[in-house]
Symmetry: C2
Subunit: 329 residues, 2 copies
């Protein structure tokens, strides 16, 4: 690093903290969070590493925003309202001050958008790539965190937004997938933006708390993550592939290369929410999501028994996936 | 890695979590912590990276324990009682399952000793060294977190335990410091043990809450960390170097090479606590610390004005340090 640790903390990161809250303006070794009566704290932590989770050449602000957003996405899926985050930032020697300032600017932008503030963390030297660990803290009414476990046979399965854009966006950035490379520049940029800067669906949290029996965010692919939700709930699921919501660019790529639909439902980085809702609450859930401005699509139904969820094509035939989700190793 | 992410989570890490608490046995994307009325949550986060904070060849259990302990040390200094921790573990490709099991065994041992449990986190592939980020969560009575700011002129300065063992332990492991190399093997092992596995002074937390006006743990050297505490409190300090408590091996090394006293007070990795106590509470603080089984030593006094603390030798002469504390960059 071409600037001191003290400069990084005092000049670049401390302005992201509010000295009047429990962060103490990053002037102490720990932070405190006052707990409101009747609330539980919800905590989640994700690490992103250059060359693994993002490309080293990605814009610093995008890396920062993705690091925060993937954690906010977990809070959203759990029905929590964000309060604070901790940031551990490991930077290799060559990083310029302008890079760090761009990183902080990305955090500032998202803090303001999502109503969350920096409370603390750590700054260290990295012997290799940039590494970012964010711990996000939110709150829910006591006992009301929405879990993976809780889905019951007969309930309906919903997803927010559109599926596959994150995986297609990575493909657009990397090149080499003809049907994606053939899209116009604007469509490729739209997909890339979904990969670089996912959208945590925090607006959906109240609707989830009110109506969902189980929920999780989709970070490693719809097929694999729905399988995790079903397994935690000791049920399985039937999904109608034709109902999986697609963005216009993703739909165009799949129209040109139908097998890409498999990549859409098994690729990672969607950061949409998959949830289950009792049939009697479906219209209320849809209305609440609509009022919150989040599109939700009913894609299938929870069924009894075990095994991975079955995805059926337009002819009703089950589709097999070689690998249901992204795995780090 | 030579085993799957699922194996790591389900077989190696999940046994460190209690399915009956807010960790949900690591089966979900987030954890919840129920907040007791009248308590604040205290959160702190530290990242340790192979080749920077520990040596790649250090035992896995020691890396795990140090990663947890440096965070518990922060909680201790803030007067907090530990509850939970989150762990992000980044492992390079070559790591064997036995290494991960040894890592988990180290965590298990310290969880049991310090009364804390794993609540969640992340597992990722590292393109380089092992990297560990721990977020520790504790509680204090509302508004009672002990801060760096709070020291007043005329108060007494105390440290727990002994100073310099961490830095001397690193020197013992690395070799090249004649007075430390000349110690017998048992003394070098004792020092190395202090570097590898620091001792968080959690037993001191109640005495700090009852009597200390300011406190922090000493991670980057007594001189530098006391300077941070004094600056946060808008005061400065006078320290009598002859009162700085030394372990027998450290004292022997310094007797052979007096300049090593400077390294003792400027080297990192002590994980002792420095705190300030009003004179009228000094005997009560000493009694409370003694009852908790933690040695505390009065090393100086808080004084008005600014600038870095002054350390005086036995003749009362101020001693200058080229660098008051360890800096990552």
């Amino acid at each position: 690093m071409k600037f001191s640790e003290r400069t990084l903390i005092e000049e670049i990161l401390a302005p992201l903290a509010n000295p009047a809250d429990g962060s103490l303006g990053l002037t102490d070794d720990a932070a405190f969070i006052a707990c409101a009566p009747g609330r539980d704290l919800v905590v989640t932590q994700d690490t992103l590493i250059g060359s693994v989770h993002f490309r080293d050449q990605d814009p610093a602000a995008a890396i920062a925003r993705k690091s925060l957003r993937v954690n906010l996405s977990d809070l959203a899926a759990k029905g929590a309202e964000p309060v604070a985050y901790l940031l551990s930032l490991a930077l290799p020697d060559g990083v310029e001050r302008a890079w760090a300032e761009d990183f902080a600017a990305g955090l500032r932008r998202d803090q303001d958008e999502f109503g969350v503030a920096l409370y603390g963390g750590d700054t260290v030297r990295s012997p290799g790539h940039v590494m970012v660990t964010v711990t996000a803290c939110g709150t829910v009414p006591s006992g009301k965190m929405i879990r993976r476990a809780g889905a019951r046979a007969g309930e309906l399965i919903y997803v927010s937004g559109t599926i596959g854009d994150g995986a297609f966006g990575l493909a657009a950035l990397n090149g080499g997938t003809p049907a994606i490379d053939a899209l116009d520049a604007r469509a490729r940029d739209e997909l890339a933006g979904r990969f670089l800067i996912p959208r945590p669906r925090l607006e959906l949290a109240p609707a989830l708390r009110a109506h969902a029996s189980a929920a999780m965010d989709i970070s490693d692919g719809l097929a694999g993550d729905l399988a995790l939700l079903a397994a935690a709930s000791r049920v399985t699921a039937e999904v109608d592939l034709g109902r999986v919501p697609l963005s216009p660019p993703a739909a165009r790529a799949i129209a040109a290369e139908p097998d890409l639909l498999i990549r859409a439902v098994t690729g990672g980085d969607d950061y949409e929410i998959v949830c289950t809702v009792p049939e009697g609450r479906a219209s209320a859930f849809e209305a609440a999501a609509g009022a919150a401005g989040i599109a939700v699509s009913r894609i299938g139904v929870v069924t009894g028994g075990g095994g991975p969820p079955v995805f059926r094509d337009s002819a009703g035939r089950p589709v097999r996936f070689e690998q249901a989700s992204f795995s780090h190793f």
